[in-house]
Each structure stands twice: as C-alpha cells, then as structure tokens.
Amino acid sequence: MHTKSLAQLAQGLQAGEFTSVELTHRYLERIDEFGPDLNCFITTTADLALQQAQAADARIAAGEAGPLTGIPLAHKDIFCTRGVRTSCGSRMLDNFIAPYESNVSEQLARAGMVMLGKTNMDEFAMGSSNETSYYGAVKNPWNLAAVPGGSSGGSAVAVAARLTPIATGTDTGGSIRQPAALCGITGIKPTYGRVSRYGMVAFASSLDQAGPMTQSAEDAALVLGAMAGFDQRDSTCVEQPVPDYMAGLEQDLKGLRIGLPKEYFSDGLDNEMARVIDDAIAVFRDLGAELVEISLPNTTLAVPTYYVVAPAECSSNLSRFDGVRYGYRCEDPQDLEDLYKRSRGEGFGDEVKRRIMIGTYALSAGYYDAYYLKAQQLRHLISDDFKQAFEQVDVIMGPTSPSVAFNIGEKSEDPVSMYLSDIYTIAVNLAGLPGMSVPAGFINELPAGLQIIGNYFDETRLLNVAHQYQQQTDWHRRIPEQFS
C-alpha cells in the first residue's frame, strides 16, 4: 500500500479497496516502526489524523471526494497548524501552538488530506543537512550515517522511507530540491508568489516558497495544484489562475530546448555526478529534446549574494522571537536586555545565531552599501542571466547538488563548506524561478538528483518534463531496502 502513487491511492479509496482510516493506520504504524531511527518527525498527530481520516471516509462515501481526499501527508514543521505545535525545529518555538492555520496546510486539509504529523527540519530552515534542528539530526534512509540534506530533511526522509505518501517542504536556497536529491525523491519549488506564504514561519521573505515533496512528478502535479493559488493575506502572492498541472503531464518533449549552463558542468563538477547528469540528459535527447549550451555568467556569485540577502532578511524576521509574547523565555531575566539576550541566545542554535549576526552586520551603518545593496544589485544580474537564457531555451538542467549525501558531522563544523552544497539551487531562489529535483541515479549507493529549472510560472512544463523522464526511468521508484 505504501508504495502506491497518489492516483492509485485515490483509486483504491474510491473503489473501497481500503478506507482512509485503514490507510492512515498503515502509515502511522510505519512512522512508529521507522520514525524513531530516522528522526524525521518532530510531532505525530495520530488522533487528529484518524479524525480527519474518518471525515474523509464520510466524504468519499457521500461521493464528495476529490483526488486527494483521504490521502495522508506530513507537513514540514514550519507550517503553522492550529492547535498543533509548530516548532520550526527550534527550542525557541518548542512550546508554540499557533491559533491559526497556514494557507498551505489549510488548502490541503480542505482537499481532504489527512495530517500524520510535523516533520523535522533544520532550525528555522537554516541548513543543508538537517543537523541544526533542536530535535536532533535526521538520518538518510539510504545510509543512516549520512545526512538527508536540508532544510526540509524530515519531509524528504519521510517520503523516501514511505512513511507518508507526500510531504510539504519549503525552499529558500534549495531546501526542497537538495534534500529531495539526497533522499532520492521528487521535489518542486514553485515560482516565488505561486504559493501563499501565509502561516509559514518566515526565514527570508523574498526567497521562501513552499512546495510538495513526492514520489513522482505526477504526484507533485496533483499536490501543487491544491497548494497553489492566490491568497489575499500574502502581499507577495500572485493573483493568477492555477493551471491544471495534470493535464500537461503527457505533452511529448520533441523539440524541447534544454539549456545546459556551461558553468554547471565546469571542472569543479565531480566526475560521477557528471556521469549521472549526462545519462539523464541522454534520456531527454532520446525523447527528441534539443540540447543547447548556455551561459549563466554570474553563477559563482549566487552563494555569496545569497549569504547576504538571506541573513539580512532573517536577522529582521527573527527579531520577533524575543521572549515577550510567545516562545522561549529565559529563567529569571534581570532586566529587559537580559530577557532579550538570554531568551534569544538560549532559544536559538548556533547556525541561526550566525546568520542573524551576518545579516545584522550586513545591514548595519557603514556596511549596508558594500553588502546589502551590492547583493541586491548582483541579484539583479543573476536574475538577468536567467532571463537571457530563457530567450533561447525552455528549461535549464544540471545537477541539484554537487555531491550525494555526505556524512553526519562531516561539514557541520565548517559553515562555508556547507553553504557551497547549495551552489546549484540558490540562484533559482534569488531569481524567483521554479526549480525541481528528480531522482537520476546513484553514486556509491546514494541517490543523485537532476535539477530542472523553468521560466516564471512555467511549472506545467517542469512537471511535464520531469514526468516524461520518469516514464523512461525508474530511479524515483527505488526505495531503500530497509524500508521497502
């Protein structure tokens, strides 16, 4: 049951082969069995899930079911869920229970999906390995000594180990795509503004975007269709109709122009990774796509630029966590300054504090022009590189991550080497484009991902391209043996 696609699950539910309650029980059992070793859930909500499953069964019985009704899911613990703790992977919010629902979780609940729980993540979504969580590191199901990637590592792992059919994630610099790649699943970061950010704890507001993490492009198309859309509560959410992503999946790829940025395939790229990506591209060539070498000249500037923009925004976004109205408050504050400094000093982990400090520094008097303004200008240049490229090609492809999953502890002492693991994903967020990662092979028995980048609001094409690839390959159907 746990290896079925969403369409198959929906079919089984509609046909009465199993109920949502049975399905939910099945996944809750798997979470009980495998969750603790993988540490991919912060909170499980069995009682709530069963209630929702019962309601879904009633809807199905009444003939009012949609394609997602009764199907379980897990939310990254960054989405506020009414009455259920939303920790954001931080001690700061360990006791925080939101009295409101995020737009993403609300829409999926309305579609009839059943919430199994909240998944582990890097603290405040800051990290590429899921080691910065207050709730401990998440393990990669393909090798428990390896990281799952981050920051949506818990969601990636839960899907990879089939502890949930799908999960939600958020992506600020690669946080959906990189863990999807490292765990061998499919993940899409939509165009900035496609999905409402309401109720999603902010890391860097101009970069954050939510998306689904799934077993396949087809599943992603179904879930993204339910997540996306206009929400008047988010000023940056775009008022534009949501296309029928499912309808576009079967389009053939003859004449598709695929851009291969020479900067992504330079000497720096690992040979094995180059081989995986070359093999994937060969599949597209066989499907009739045309390969075009392009250039994104400012590629190497994306990481430095991102590490000004994202920390600057986060330094301000995280100021609200001050121990006054909610969240962690230190013991016996001596005075107001002590309250602030210790609540924040004790409530945040090291990586969050580092980023707050970098951002504070970059915005401070005397440094603003050299750092923040400069980064915003570079952001323009990076974004222009993509605009020019999309005049010649329909999609851009390359590796999602420079390497497969590294070992837990390997990079945690060296923030900069960790940051460089997002070198291929970060520019996409700076530009606000949609990007996707699909499983494309294995290196040393660990999954590797192919990244597909699309033009603004061209999610339909991304999903189509990924789906066609998945019709030719079975990387996305591989499940780590232990969890099969």
Binding site: P99, S205, D322, R325
Partner: protein, 479 residues
Amino acid sequence: MEWEVVIGLEIHAQLATQSKIFSAASTAYGAEPNTQACAVDLGLPGVLPVLNEQAVVMASRFGLAIGAQVAPRSVFARKNYFYPDLPKGYQISQFELPIVGQGSIEIELEDGSSKTIGITRAHLEEDAGKSLHEDFHDMTGVDLNRAGTPLLEIVSEPDMRSPAEAVAYMKKIHSLVRYIEICDGNMQEGSFRCDANVSIRPKGQEEFGTRAELKNINSFRFVEKAIQYEIERQIDVLEGGGEVVQETRLYDSAKNETRSMRSKEEANDYRYFPDPDLLPLEVDAAFLEEVRKTLPELPDEKKHRFMKEYGLSAYDAGVLTASRELAAYYEDAASAGGDQPKLVANWVSGELAALLNKNNLDITESPVSAAMLGGLVKRIADETISGKIAKTVFEAMWNGEGDADAIIESKGLKQITDTGAIEKVIDDIIAANPAQVEQLLAGKDKLMGFFVGQVMKATQGKANPGQVNSLLREKLKQK
C-alpha cells in the same frame, strides 16, 4: 550674543481608518488591553502584512493638500530595534522613498503676517503599542492594541524661528488634517503628537547648530513650553562654554524640563532595508484624480477666498478658516446677515468667540446659530438697533430667548428713528438744562456728549445715535 532659534517638527498623525495599516483589526481607542491586537499586530510567526487602501488614500489627500508630489512609487522599509511595544522587532515605515514629497503650508502669525513653512516629506508607518509602567510586581505591562495603527509622519523643514511659529505650524497642520478628514486630531488620546528638533545658532550664521530632538509632546501648550525650555538650556550650555550634544530628550510636562534619553540613543542603528513582505506601493494618476475629487476646499484656498470674497484681512480670514466648522458657520452667518461680511466677521471672532471660549464650547455647540447671528447683524445694518443694543440682543439669543427680531420686539428694543419723537426728547432736554446750553454755545464743545448721553438715557438707548447727533446740532444752532 544674540541667538537665532531653528525649529523643525515631526508630527505623527494617526490616520482615521477603521482598521489597522497592515491588518484587519480595529483601531478604536480605549478597548481592553490586547483585545484589538490580532496575529499580525502581535508579530506572530508566519503572518504577513497587507496594506490598507484607506491609509494610502489619506496620505494622498495630505500630499495633495500641501501641494506636494504624491510619489508614483514608494517603498516600505523596516526600521529595526528591540522594544517591548514593538512586537516584530521592527517598525514598518518608509525611509528612502516616502509616499508624500516636498510641499508647504502657510501659517498666520499674531502680528497679522503670514509665513510659508516647508514640508520635507510625509510617510506612512505603523504605530507601536504602549508600555504601562504601573506596578505589576515591578514589571512593565505591554498593551499592543495601538500597534499597527496607521500613522502619517509629517516632517517639516527647519523653517521655524520661534516657539510661537512652531505652535502656529502645529495648529495649522492640526487644522488641515481635520479639514481633510484624515485624523481626528485628538491630542489627549495621542492621535496627534509631535517631536521637535531644536537648535540655536548665532544670529547671522549660515550653518545650523547641533540639534536636540524633543520627544513626547502632546499639546500645543507643551510644544511652546518644551521648546522654550530647550532654547534656554542650549543658550546656557553654549554661553557657559559647553557644546550641545545631538541627542533625544524627553519633555517632562510635570517638571517643565527636558531630559536626556540616553537609554534610547544607545546603539541607534536601525538597519533600514526594504520590507520583503510588501511590494512597492504604486499610486497612479487616475487614483490621485479620484482622491482629488473628494478633497474639500483647503484652508489656505478658503482663506484667500474669504479675503477676496468678503474683503477680510489675512488675519481675520485665517482665524475664520481655522476649522471647517467655523468657516462654514461664518459663511452661513454672512449669507444670513445681508451684505455685511466684515461686520459678521467681527461678531463671529469677537462676541461669539469670547462666549464660546468662556463656556468651553465648540462652534458646533453654539447656542446662537449662524442664521440667528446673521439676523442680528441684519438688524444692525438696517438700523433697527444700534451696535450697543445689539449686544443686549445677542446675550438674550445666547440665553435662548429667541431670534433677534423676536427679542427686539418683545423687549421693545427697536431703535427710535422717528424725527418728531427724537426732536421732542431733545427739546425737553434743552429746556431742562439751560446752563449747559449756555456753556456749549460759549464754545465748550465737549458738552455735546452730555446732551447725546441725556437723549440716549431718556430713550433707553433706543434713539438712533446718528439722528440724535444731527438733530441736536440743528436745534442748538437755532439757539
């Protein structure tokens, strides 16, 4: 040494919207603590700001009213600092690109002259909550009901040269924001407050002295007193050989002094940057045209029209246009008063203003309506009563005894204009005072007043004074 004072004001006007600038919570004053602070106002995680259209309309009204450019594109920025009444750890404000650009306004001074004060800019921002320092086990209580109330911060040029000019400017802005209905102007409730930047320099010196920023001034009287105190303090410092430090000072109205707020000064690095949760605000010509259509006649326009249409002095016109209600009262009274606009002006800003003031009443609460006052002036003009009798009639109107005509009738105050009747009284008085007649004829002209007085007394003030004068002269000439 002779010093010149340089003053600039930053006025914070709370915009009279129903809901907050970035949330749909109520802005009503006086609710139970934190009952009007929604998730956005409280800075809860994940919630987002969405801009209130009416705040933009109101800021635009102000921009148009001061002849400023309303920016086609303005940007919201975050001003970052930690304070318990600032829930997000930043205030959403406008920094580099404000909605309202440069404009100006005319103020009237006591000596009857006018002066133009420049307005540098006005920008939209959110108000903070309130810290209550009453004793909660030696802690401070935070009420965030006010957090997120829209503010228009109006920044003047350093164009004022005395506390009186600062007050006149503040009053003018106060009047303007009420005219254009963007702020209720309630200073007790903090809807209209100001900070003053004060510096002094030796007279004739071009460059400005170091300024102090005075915070927390919430009445016209305190503006004057706070600035006056600060000027004297700075003169003492400079004449004592010291230097004025650029700092924020808090005005303490109880002690009438300003004191340094070093705590707030420390590490004053606001790290402004564009708010990524809000997109640039665009205001196009069509939007502005719609706003313009709803604007009333502005105080300065009205003032100049009053000068032209009613022949009033700049000062009188300024006084009568200080509020829309007063101006409307005046215009109604003038139209009811026949062709006597100046006389009506004198009555409105004279007797009426004095009585309103004495009874602490607003013009809208006047027991004497504009039509009644106009009716009174009409009777002065057509000589039914004299100016002196008019005061008696006015008092009776104030006391609710009816309109002017009814009072004149019932009290028999109608002026005596019948020549025969007046002549008879004059004849009697001349006959009764032969000695005074002698002296007058001998050249003691001052006695003319005595005879007029006697006639008026005999007629209980009702005889037409002009007629009395000329008839008296005629009769005495015949002697």
